[in-house]
Amino acid sequence: VRISLADQCGKYLGRSEGSELALFLRDNIPTDQLAEVDFAGVDTALPSFFNALIGTLAENQGLPWIGERLKPVNMSDLLSKSWANALKNASISDAEAESMWSAAEKSLLG
């Protein structure tokens, strides 16, 4: 299956487009198929697009699902870096996240 981002979400992509696409992919990719996410025609994709897309998918389907089922194609260097960064962020465990928030909360409340 090939999904054209420019057709599906438009030329300029931010956080809401990432969340919407994640739900679309979750519901529309058959379990035995690979989806090519095609970036051709995309002008700008903000980091929050990738974070929302990969973060939402990781939460719903798990990181291995992203690796096995999704293949980004026609990406520039910049987009590839954003994709890799988002994967790295999503790999943070719940325990690590909780510990970071707990430390932040202490400093925020003095």
Partner: protein
């Protein structure tokens, strides 16, 4: 900045406020954007805001015309160094990207496509925050300025101010912690917002502002921001502190300097 917001808040719908610039000494880009955002906010409440009579020859008022604020029309043509103000009432990423490329960065002809894309993408994240986190009632106001340094081009500066009047970053963080904003240290909230993996809505995926910070630090740029009671500068050195006053929303003033971040060239901004 906070004084003007408070002063205009006093006016009721249907009343008129007249702004007098005769005592104004200087407008920085973020001051212009802030003024315009407050005018738009007051007008959205039904307050009529106009310049006071007899401002025509006032140099500072004429600068507001050149930046194309809504205080008068028709606006004068902007100069090469004045980057016209743009109001984005709605989330329009494409419009913002095009503004950055064709208006803000127009002088940087030798800036590579990759660097241009990196810059636009990183700054675009701030714009996205205005609508997703701040939910600013009048959207975003953006304006820029070139500061020439003819005898020292490497010190030339390119400013971009982005202002909203929605929820400030500390207020948003307080909400995600389910705490009263008055109990949260606003300077610390700004520090947290710029840390990787901690976002203003309490998710671990927050990377927009940390990426922006990385960009600023890597390119010898600087950003100053006011948000709630918090104030911060990020760049050569980072400082966070609490102000004695509160600003509604967030005001960013981003400064790019000289040629350091322009690959392989002796590009100047002018």
């Amino acid at each position: 900045m906070a004084d003007l917001a408070e002063a205009l808040d006093i006016y009721d719908a249907g009343s008129s406020a007249r702004l007098d610039f005769s005592e104004t000494l200087f407008f920085c880009p973020v001051g212009v954007a802030w003024l315009e955002a407050q005018v738009l906010k007051a007008r959205s409440r039904g307050v009529n805001v106009h310049p006071a009579v007899g401002q025509e020859n006032n140099e500072k008022y004429r600068y507001l015309l050149r930046t194309r604020t809504s205080l008068a029309s028709p606006a004068e043509l902007s100069t090469r160094r004045t980057i016209p103000l743009q109001h984005f009432p709605r989330r329009d990423i494409g419009g913002f990207v095009e503004y950055l490329r064709s208006v803000w960065l127009r002088q940087l002809r030798r800036l590579g496509e990759h660097e241009r894309g990196y810059l636009v993408t990183t700054v675009g994240e701030i714009f996205e925050n205005v609508f997703l986190h701040a939910e600013s009632p009048v959207g975003a106001v953006v304006v820029g300025q070139h500061y020439a340094k003819p005898f020292s081009p490497s010190k030339a500066e390119l400013h971009l101010a982005v202002v909203d009047v929605g929820r400030s970053i500390p207020v948003k963080i307080s909400e995600s912690m389910q705490r009263e904003s008055s109990r949260v240290d606003h300077a610390e909230a700004l520090r947290v917002a710029f840390q990787p993996h901690l976002s203003t809505d309490g998710l671990v995926f927050g990377t927009g502002l940390p990426m922006f910070r990385k960009f600023i630090e890597k390119n010898d740029a600087e950003v100053e921001l006011y948000s709630g009671r918090g104030w911060a500068t990020i760049g050569r050195s980072s400082n966070f502190r609490n102000n004695s006053f509160t600003v509604p929303g967030t005001a960013y003033d981003m400064i790019l300097r000289g040629i350091d971040w322009v690959p392989g060239g002796e590009e100047t901004f002018f």
